[in-house]
């Protein structure tokens, strides 16, 4: 599912206009915009008018100027694209429908048409549209209620309230003393620490859980099936005891399904600290699906990069992230692709290079196969999975990259030599993970850059040597970058 599925087509187009402008230094010709959107002139004119009307909310902080030739975006320093997305999302009827469902658990068509001031047919159309996207979560709106596995319903709401709906709608809850107490109890029971950055995530989840707790006939069939390898898991057992004891204090009946939901959530998202998680990895069953895949993928990655062994703390960190990715893949269906991620994804190849992207796709293929899950082409969970793997691989290559020592040994007149060496150093300074200087004999280097085609290259004591064709040429620079990448792996 994508964020724009909560918006109407023209709204998505308007947001695209903003995106295009941001990506093109704030200005784009009218013609280029037409080409990009593939719409008629009348349509684009309408969109620009509609944008102008909507942006009046920002009191001249944001506006789009069209001088008959170019379209230009003017935006105040304190406004970002996120604010603009927010403005569109706040007006979305589909978001209001989900909000209403969450707050009231159930609606009648009459109630909702009155509340949203829309016609019955329009409401039906929006529900039908929402259902077509909720399908990947395995849930649907039927007879005024959300139907499906409880895990999937809470997981969807978690995404919804974390990334779609304005967080401030839940802010009163975060300050709720009962919520603070609940979080404290969780820390006490599990003997873990919940860091401030993880608290918000956890309180969103707990709030959703609290509002769902009294729903009758919750479905846990799929969850129970998936939990079979975890019934003896020590963390699950602690959570089960905590949940049973907690709810025994209220007039609320729960079964182990409730404990299972919380167990999955705690492992699928960064809630525990890396230290607490590490303690858990020491006692968890290594043959259970997630742990087994963690190990398999970690080894695959280590082999791919030809690392001999990861430093201890880095290995812990990698397992921490892998467990989140794999727990999500193993237990959940569906995901929401956010705008900001997609623009990075679109640029992924430029940023990280083809090899890494291809490798990340290969790993997700392995994971899907090992978990025996059906992989649809348009599955957002898998797309986000690839994105997460890419980030993990990047993290790993940044942390594993040693600082390469590069020496520049130009053979020419002293004056040129000094100037050109400095220029070369300047040109190469944006490259991460290198230290570059003028060559000094008796120092160790990983790479020597020289223009001397005749002298004996064996004098560099095993360092790799690259002979520059033309100092400062883009051809040479591309070759040097390739060599650096090779030396790093």
């Amino acid at each position: 599912m994508k964020v724009e599925h909560f918006l109407e087509k023209n709204e998505v187009r308007e947001i695209t206009i903003f995106n295009q402008l941001v990506l093109n230094h704030g200005v784009l010709s009218y013609k280029d915009m037409l080409d990009h959107l593939a719409v008629s002139k009348a349509s684009l004119d309408n969109d620009l008018e509609s944008i102008a009307a909507r942006m009046s909310d920002f009191d001249k902080q944001v506006y789009i100027q069209y001088d008959g030739q170019n379209i230009e975006l003017i935006m105040g320093d304190h406004i970002s694209l996120q604010h603009i997305y927010r403005l569109y999302l706040d007006q979305s009827i589909k978001i209001k429908i989900i909000n209403y469902l969450f707050k009231h658990q159930k609606f009648s068509i009459t109630q909702l048409t009155l509340k949203l001031a829309i016609s019955e047919s329009s409401l039906f159309r929006k529900i039908r549209d929402l259902n077509s996207h909720l399908k990947e979560f395995g849930i649907k709106i039927r007879n005024g209620q959300l139907h499906g596995e409880e895990l999937q319903i809470r997981y969807f709401y978690f995404h919804f309230y974390s990334y779609i709906e304005d967080k401030t709608t839940l802010f009163t809850v975060h300050a709720d003393s009962q919520m603070i107490q609940t979080m404290q109890s969780l820390e006490n029971f599990l003997k873990v620490t919940i860091l401030p950055e993880n608290r918000e995530r956890l309180s969103t989840w707990l709030f959703i859980s609290k509002s769902r707790i009294t729903i009758k006939n919750q479905k846990h069939k799929y969850l129970r099936e998936k939990m079979k390898p975890y019934v003896k898991d020590p963390l699950y057992h602690k959570i089960q005891v905590m949940i049973l004891r907690y709810f025994s204090r209220y007039s609320i009946e729960v079964d182990e399904g409730e404990a299972m939901l919380h167990f999955v959530f705690l492992l699928a998202f960064p809630i525990l600290t890396e230290d607490d998680f590490h303690e858990y990895t020491l006692i968890r069953d290594r043959h259970a699906p997630v742990a087994a895949l963690d190990m398999y993928i970690a080894e695959t990655i280590i082999n791919h990069f030809k690392f001999r062994k990861l430093p201890y703390m880095l290995e812990r960190e990698i397992y921490y992230h892998l467990t989140h990715i794999h727990t999500q893949l193993y237990f959940f269906q569906g995901d929401i692709e956010r705008f900001e991620y997609r623009y990075i994804l679109a640029k992924e190849k430029q940023i990280v290079g083809d090899n890494l992207v291809a490798f990340a796709r290969e790993i997700i293929g392995t994971s899907i196969k090992r978990f025996r899950i059906e992989a649809g082409d348009n599955n957002s969970l898998f797309k986000m999975g690839v994105f997460k793997y890419i980030n993990l691989l990047l993290l790993l290559s940044f942390k594993m990259a040693k600082v390469l020592q590069i020496g520049i040994d130009l053979k020419m007149d002293e004056l040129y030599k000094e100037t050109l060496s400095e220029l070369l150093i300047l040109k190469m300074s944006p490259i991460q993970g290198i230290h570059i200087e003028r060559y000094e004999p008796n120092k160790e280097y990983d790479l020597i850059l020289t223009n001397d085609k005749t002298s004996d290259l064996s004098g560099y004591e095993g360092a790799r040597v690259y002979v520059l064709s033309e100092v400062l040429s883009s051809f040479d620079l591309a070759n040097i970058q390739r060599i650096i990448q090779e030396l790093n792996t």
């Binding site: 107490q181 404290q184 109890s185 006490n188 029971f189 609290k210 509002s211 707790i213 009294t214 009758k216 019934v231 089960q240 005891v241 049973l244 004891r245 907690y246 025994s248 204090r249 209220y250 007039s251 609320i252 009946e253 729960v254 079964d255 182990e256």
Partner: protein, 444 residues
């Protein structure tokens, strides 16, 4: 003033009697859904324990006593709805719909034992016997059964297991937590009891949750737990109780757990409407709001609501969840916070568990006591006891100490009698390091 009370169990009756005490001229009307009056919940246990000859004797008040207090009562009256705007209650009585207006309303509709998670638990063949009619049916069913499965290892479930074992029944007891009576005792206190239960042949299924109960063609019942199942002649539901309030006006606010929200004076969100007993949450051992459906709370809340009818004068002091019972040859009592429950609070606690003789005589009976107290202030927060001698009354001393926020040091200064036949050098309800034998290794 017309005071209508919905429910004539402990809370409702206590409220009615107290209203009469405060308002001699009030018109008091009790509406009770059951056909009989003032049956002691789980009075069947008294019958099984041979403490009464007839189930009908399990009554805590008679119709005659109510009449003496000029309290009007209607048995078999089922409330259909409450209109708090017009202050009118509609109820079915003798197959007619009746209306009654009120000036003040007290909701004391109690609770029922029903599971929404266990498929098949609502069928009649699955026994619940909190109420008189249900108890009669359960009595005959259990009589003809050899193997009885009890779902829920709380006080009711364990008592039933004990009483039915004495009748030579084969008992399977299923509890979803790791040990029985977990609300009242810590796991380290329960060992002697569980050991005794196993010696008595109880098939104890701990840490297991029932998913469904199916009636077989031979009228046996199959209780399913995960991949396992138990087949028996009868099944007793002794799970947690919950209020059942389908008649409530939506103006009366409720908590997430569907209990009625009340303030310290037991007033609901609607003026002139009060709620008591098993319908509400109470401030618990740590003064946080919890659900503690115990008879002593029902009676006390009934009294408090009655005192506040005209204006708020008496705050409800909360509940320490004090219990006492006798099971499998042990007397067991608890009050206040347990060590396990302390994890839900902000208290840093210490605990101390010791075995002390009850008298100064040789071969005196002993009691194992567990103290839970604030690590810094030494204010007593909770106490648990288990003994083969009847020391139940002592828990009330400790409950009073907790309620009045006594420290361990205060308790040592309390003036108690000494008699070698009945007490020892320091009275039992003292934590004295040099008395008795410490049974826990280190303080947590």
């Amino acid at each position: 003033m017309k005071v209508v009370i919905i429910g004539a169990s402990f809370a409702g009756i206590a409220a009615a009697l107290e209203v009469r005490k405060h308002h001699t001229d009030a018109n008091i009307v009790l509406l009770e859904k059951q056909a009989t009056l003032a049956y002691i919940p789980n009075g069947l246990h008294l019958y099984w324990g041979n403490q009464i000859d007839d189930l009908n004797a399990a009554r805590f008040i008679t119709e005659e006593q109510l009449r003496q207090h000029t309290i009007e009562y209607y048995l078999g009256a089922t409330v259909q709805n409450i209109n708090t705007d017009q202050k009118i209650i509609a109820y079915d009585y003798l197959e007619q719909e009746e209306l009654v207006a009120y000036d003040k309303l007290i909701i004391a509709a109690g609770s029922r034992q029903l599971s929404e998670k266990i498929d098949g638990s609502a069928q009649d063949s699955v026994l619940k016997y909190k109420r008189y009619g249900e108890a009669q049916a359960a009595l005959s069913k259990v009589k003809e059964s050899q193997h009885v499965t009890i779902i829920g290892g709380g006080q009711v479930g364990v008592e039933a297991a004990d009483l039915l074992t004495k009748q030579q029944k084969k008992i399977t007891l299923i509890e979803s937590m790791d040990y029985v009576l977990f609300k009242y005792l810590d796991e380290d206190m329960i060992q002697p009891l569980e050991q005794k239960m196993i010696e008595n042949g109880i098939d104890l299924r701990l840490g297991q949750t029932v998913s469904s109960i199916d009636m077989e063609s031979n009228h046996n019942l199959t209780v399913r737990l995960g991949d396992d199942s138990v087949i028996s002649d009868a099944v007793i539901m002794s799970v947690n109780v919950r209020p059942n309030l389908p008649f409530l006006d939506t103006r009366i606010k409720r908590h997430t757990d569907q209990t009625i929200a009340v303030d310290r004076y037991l007033r609901t969100s609607v003026e002139d409407v009060f709620a008591v007993g098993d319908c509400i949450q109470l401030s618990g051992p740590d003064e946080d709001m919890v659900y503690i459906p115990l008879i002593n709370n029902a009676v006390r809340t009934g009294i408090v609501a009655a005192a506040n009818l005209i204006e708020p004068v008496l705050e409800f002091k909360g509940s320490l969840r004090t219990i006492g019972t006798s099971i499998f040859g042990y007397y067991i009592a608890s009050t206040g916070m347990t060590e396990a429950e302390s994890l839900f609070t902000n208290h840093t606690i210490e605990t101390h568990r010791q075995k002390v003789p009850l008298t100064s005589l040789p071969h005196s009976d002993t009691v194992i006591l567990k103290w839970v107290y604030d690590a810094t202030t030494h204010v007593l927060l909770g106490a648990q006891m288990i003994s083969k001698a009847n020391m139940l009354e002592k828990i009330n001393t400790l409950a009073l100490a907790i309620q009045t926020k006594q420290t361990l040091e205060d308790l040592q200064q309390t003036d108690y009698f000494f008699h070698p036949s009945y007490s020892q050098m320091m009275t039992t309800t003292n934590l004295v390091s040099w008395m008795g034998e410490r049974v826990d290794k280190d303080e947590s």
